[in-house]
Symmetry: D2
Subunit: 363 residues, 4 copies
């Protein structure tokens, strides 16, 4: 079943396994006339790339992208844009000995049962490496959105039990601050705490979960199509398609369950030509359509499944197996960190699609 | 933009406004040969219908369904099944005086800005009344799933600050217990507390949020298609397309953010012919594909936006307006209650679609 | 498999069997703000309705449509438009005795083999009655296209061996002339010949094929999306989804196979602000995108399969059966006649969809 | 608008321009467990490649494919298969001088008007070079179909006024005979005549059209989904999405217009366990669903638009331009020849998709 595409008008299709020849993405439906350069795509990929600092996986993938099609004389032509990223530092030898083990928290068991086979090298298609393709495509979507005046950023809000302390106010250079932090948390004190926590985790062979928030500003009113293409439904689908994501919420989210109507209702007021709301528990949409207020949503990520501590599980023959990855294995102690640019990318893809869909709403 | 369809192989398209002539649904892609009767569909609709007890909206809609097509001699034929539900108790007179007011928490502002017009009568297309169509279609999907051995149920887990006390263990008659409760909470003591809380809320002109859980049992391994049609991504999209939903989580959900890898990893063991996991923090999927363990996910609903307490908002001309619905207005004090059969229906639609998609996974 | 929808942005979903309670269509994605009345839809349906004159089926279906949703205060709202047409003159008794016979040229054999069952009454879902829904939806699409300055018409060009004599030049009232003819042929002399031929056919218990041409004028340049959504590919799909259609061609069509390049190439010239071509063998598209020249395509229809002459076929048990429909059975001697408004409707649906798709081509 | 994908369950997405870095295709939804090798794909590509003999374009593209993903240990894994074909012999210098000319029969005018820009080098995305990607994907689809017992072939039936003389009877080595002919015509005498005709055409600077027939054998009964995914509708869409195609017909095709019902109706008879028809005017489908009889359809191709004879056209500024390609320019005198493997590939893609769709028809 074809299931590697996302979006309706601005649609991506990704391909490639973690240890195959290359991974890549085809972006179909990007409007013609958009200025885009390889540098801009590469810059986005660099933020997600592993091995940047001690807090992420040491795999040495440069993630060097190449644009194969769809861009001519520096601009998109309306033709599909294929971006390809060769795999350079794949080391499959470590996967051969453990290929018969049902790895806890991993997808090898379910893939094998579904397809009758599994490319076990580096997790094959189930690897989070696939998200590099989303980031490359997201960079194009971001460029399109910026041409329409929309701005946005994601950041790490919680890492394990460490929560970002200050509330994030929108600031001119917020995105710069986020990506200056090794853990993509714009608050310096919180970032430092998170980093200490991570070093301790690595030492102990453990991993932790985290929370990523996406904020979108200057979104026009009217994006999102009732009833099954509501903006939050598309965002939820986008975020829950990410490896390791366990939850999605918008605006008040799960806190809404214990609020009262008069607390939660955001009352409208007129602000010059704009209509705004005093509070924003809605989180930027009503009835699945953007209100013009900032959009804010959050994605919960589980702790990395690859840990070096011993676990007792079984193999495909049903035999109990004691199993641990060797110390120094290449994995992220917290997948939520490198998920930050990915959440941002998925947000961009949803918004680009929604913005184009909205062009057909009226006569 | 066509956006009123849900699903790929087992696909529904809904239509109709709250106060129009009728609402309805076309189910396309239901396999031929499935026994289904109007009674079964009606029974599902009755659970969602308003006016059943003091805890829901007093609108007197019988929601009397009619099957127009696709069923012959008691069985589906493979042709599209159209089910129609006429609107009988629509009273639009109350909406005329407030049609120029930007109602807090409602979608009239965003619809109007998007489309340049709005059928304000009863909320038009943005009304939760649309969900009756999902329930009707869900009853057909449920029948299909039962023919494949899959069972499932949803229930109210939290109403405002009242949480269900006992943990829900799977029991033979769990679904019976749920629907015996006026608030769809299978624990009698908790149900009673919730009902008291609701009566107090109604008295005070307020509303509250709530939390609905969906549990699926006996799901085969292998459902869900990587990477953008992951089972949890489809469920998230389904649930976040519901009116008033603010969050979705699966398994450990948002709690996962502060867990460690060794805590969260569900270890496998062999149980006769089956493979199972000791814990189930995953919530029934790995890599977006069902594991065969019970699937559990939760949906957060905001408090009903329609309250009788006064609110200060503005109208389309930007003038401040003091506004309250009259006491006794027809609304639910907590939308999460009647959302229970709707969450169940959306779960059924996702699973039916996923199960059919899985038929194409292998040679 | 969901397969009863057509179109991407302007999408229809049809439902209903020939002898069920009703047939109908949901139009999803029609832009908001379009003026449309039931009368306009009914007028289109009346052209396709049977029993209008001696040259079509005597079934007395008034095809009285009702709009259930999506129109408010005389205009579309952006919500799905459901139009329903109850079946009034269904007489299933004639189908009971022949339900075990594999009817030559009919779909009962293939439906039964595919689905394991068949609603044999009046051909069930395989009946050409389904095309009434296309006509109803086409009337809405037509209204949208007219608001964008596009005009078009279909007509009967050949009926059996009778070809329309004069070449059709575009004329102000061409559509009026077409629908004044009982066989939808705008040339009076040809129309008369066709009618004589039909009366002879009816007498002899026979049927014949026919050819329908669609012409579209004032189409903007740029409609159609390469490479798999080329305008002619969408038109071909639309027309070949019609019952009894056996071929589709655009512009030069099958004649192109024996032409030379310098004959076939339409040379461009500048005509004020417009670019035109001297000839129009292309038929209105190049590279799958409209050129701004008139679009012309043709659809070949086979002779009606229901004839009153005896045929020797077999039943589901494999026994040879001699079989003829009684004289006076309700069928069209030539399905191509009533196909004229259907071809027009399908053309309108394709163009409406394509026109909306084109809104997303550029930045 | 995303428009570079074809198929629903077995879906391809192509990318790349004629003179860009590479062209390629992503095949999504191919069932897991299918044996496929690069050699098999390359063999298919070699049949379509230019420069094989004097009757096709002299462009020296080896069309050397590479499989980037989706195949592991010689078998498909269910993950998307990306096949890439670098462009090696692109010579864009010839296109620079003529980039402002509206080339008769070409798509540069319509692309430029639609997108506001055009990658003119070698026709960019509008080039027939894109069809190499269809052939690569078709080779995979073919392998899948063969595993299900389906066999098929296409061949050149008419080249200009030269028609194949003998009727094609199904023979064991028919496909071998076809591909032994330099013009893909299995009848040796006809093939020779066509070749002579082509040499004369080349000499005179002209081109011609042609007709390609597709035959499919051993197709199971039941493929094709009513009503908008009828098998012939999907085939028509597939074939009319090919560059230069002007018409499609199935079975009796355009001849049906002048046949009578008793002539055209194919009568059924029982042949052991099978049901067959004496004649096969239907061409293999009834009601859009395969009958089990051989499927036969034809595609009409216009003459190649690139000719070396002078033409008078205009440029984007509206000035009249006299224009001819230099003698010896790289083009095919008849595009229908190299279209043969492409028609075969499109047939394979449609049938693979339809076959998988059919798995969901029944309970």
């Amino acid at each position: 079943m074809a299931s590697n595409s996302f979006g309706t008008i601005f649609r991506i299709t990704t391909f490639g396994e973690s240890h195959g020849k290359a991974i890549g993405v085809v972006i179909d439906g990007c409007p013609a006339g958009l200025k885009i350069s390889l540098n801009e795509i590469q810059a986005a990929l660099d933020l997600r790339a592993p091995g940047r600092n001690p807090y992420t996986s040491p795999r040495k993938e440069k993630d060097q992208a190449d644009i194969l099609s769809g861009v001519f004389e520096g601009k998109t032509t309306g033709a599909p844009i294929c971006i390809i990223i060769p795999n350079k530092d794949a080391d499959s030898s470590k996967y051969e000995p453990i290929k018969d083990i049902l790895r806890p928290g991993h997808a090898n068991f379910t893939y094998t049962k579904k397809y009758g086979c599994f490319d076990y090298r580096g997790g094959g298609r189930s690897s989070a490496r696939e998200t590099a393709c989303r980031v490359a495509a997201g960079a194009v979507a971001r460029k399109f959105l910026e041409s329409q005046g929309v701005s946005f950023y994601a950041y790490l809000k919680e890492l394990g039990s460490v929560c970002m302390e200050s509330n994030l106010e929108y600031a001119e250079n917020i995105r710069g601050n986020i990506y200056e932090s090794d853990v993509f948390c714009p608050d310096k004190a919180s970032s430092a705490k998170m980093q200490s926590h991570l070093l301790a985790l690595k030492e102990s062979g453990e991993s932790t979960g985290g929370l990523v928030e996406l904020q979108v500003h200057s979104l026009p009113v009217g994006l999102g199509d009732p009833v099954y293409e509501k903006l939050e439904a598309k965002l939820a689908s986008a975020m829950m398609s990410l490896p390791a994501s366990k939850g999605f919420e918008i605006g008040s989210g799960f806190d809404a369950t214990s609020m009262s109507g008069s607390e939660h209702n955001d009352c409208f007021y007129s602000d010059g030509d704009l209509v705004r709301t005093h509070s924003n528990y809605a989180g930027g949409t009503l009835g699945g359509i953007s209100t013009g207020m900032p959009l804010s949503c959050r994605v919960a990520f589980k702790p990395t499944s690859s840990i070096t501590n011993e676990q007792i599980t079984c193999d495909y023959s049903g035999n109990e197996v004691r199993f641990n990855l060797p110390k120094g294995s290449r994995h992220d102690p917290c997948v939520a960190i490198r998920a930050v640019p990915v959440v941002e990318a998925m947000g961009a893809l949803v918004l680009a699609d929604t913005l184009l869909m909205n062009r057909c709403a009226r006569l």
